[in-house]
Amino acid sequence: MIHANDEPAVPMGLPLPNGKLAMWLFLVTEIMFFTALIGSYLIYRNGQPTASQPWPTPHDVHLAEWIGAVNTFVLICSSLTVVLALWSLHVGNSKRAVQYIGVTLALGCVFLVIKAYEYQQKFAHGILPGRVFEKLDSPHGYKYMRHVQEQLEHIEKHGGVNDKAKKACAELLADIRAGKLQPKDVNERVRGTKSIKETNPGKEFITTKDSTYVDLPERSRPKDAPMVEGILEMDTHAHLSYSIPFGNMWASCYFAMTGFHALHVFGGLVVFAIMLVMAWRGRFGPQNAQMVEVTGLYWHFVDIVWIFLFPLLYLV
């Protein structure tokens, strides 16, 4: 051991405060956590789905891209305000810092409200894990047909769709009751094939030999097959179920990923709320710069996660 014995007693450690170092380490665990979530999503998405049984498009699962984009914008704004809060503390303007934190809290709440609206849409359309109809071969198919029949009866009784769709609903219900239809015919008449070109740009119509999963009309029909105008094309607000291959897997991944992200957002909001309470009691000032910085690190990380979730779930 060759150490000299008379070194000066210098302090050890990184020039980082404990809180900040611990936050970076916590973020390491969080990075691994979200990597596992995103990684398994990529695997589910790119693994089993095929050309004839593709992963659902946002349109299939009632996901509006622009809502995701707005949410991205909201989170970016909140990231800016939190960094400006820290900046204000450093230039000595505690009051402005508190205002920025308040805006951050508000933006975070807006994010969660938009998310809640999206979730509500999923619940309304039954896009929930384990409840999406995928395969229409028996017995799933007959379960699906019964389900549509109930939905049609509900529409018949309570209305809620436009006249054209209402007429088509009545016809479909009559045909189901008469026992004329196979589950996949019901699916085709609910969903329609008219707007396929618009909703599936760049996708070729595929005729497949794989006859096991030919329940999705648009992707397995020959090019010259007649187009059917579906009830959902007449009235997009009709609550009628249709088959979505891998819809359950999509919903599982969607809720797991956005749910954990939303939980993290909520956690951050709690800390911002605590800061506001401190400010309200007059105990918030430049001495809290480290608290703001550490919380900010966390908040930016939450933002970064969303920066990846948005394209992965809504766009690509």
Partner: protein, 134 residues
């Protein structure tokens, strides 16, 4: 705001190890009062610039997605662009908002392994999870 704030108010153990200086010129606080205002203004400008860049990038990824719908570019091109844009955006947030510009030298030894680990994990899952089904 002349004194530096490196107390451990966040951690519940206030063990002060002497000089946890943040006094890098690139960091927003510290340094002498003179030149401080310039420094602060420069930081403010960089934050706003990054914010604008992030908005533009979000718009770019949104537009590219719409272009696919219009059939102008292939889904593969758009996916590549969108993912690159996402990585750039994440980099911007980490580099400026999370102050990695100033702190990289202190945390690189934990950040580099975790990034390698993430990428490696996903790549190693691919043969079983994805290629196995092809």
């Amino acid at each position: 705001m002349s004194e530096q704030h490196h107390d451990h108010s966040h951690g519940d153990h206030s063990h002060s190890h002497g000089d946890h200086s943040h006094g890098e010129h690139s960091h927003s606080h510290g340094g002498d009062a003179h030149g401080h205002a310039d420094d602060a203004a420069a930081h403010f400008r960089s934050y706003i610039a990054i914010f604008i860049a992030l908005c533009v990038f979000t718009a770019i990824s949104f537009v590219f997605n719409e272009l696919v719908r219009g059939g102008i570019i292939s889904p593969m091109t758009s996916a590549t662009v969108i993912m690159i844009v996402a990585i750039i955006k994440a980099g911007c947030v980490a580099y400026i908002f999370m102050h990695l510009k100033a702190d990289w030298g202190k945390v690189y030894c934990i950040m580099i392994p975790v990034v390698i680990m993430c990428v490696m994990m996903i790549i190693v899952f691919l043969p079983d999870g994805v290629l196995g089904w092809r």
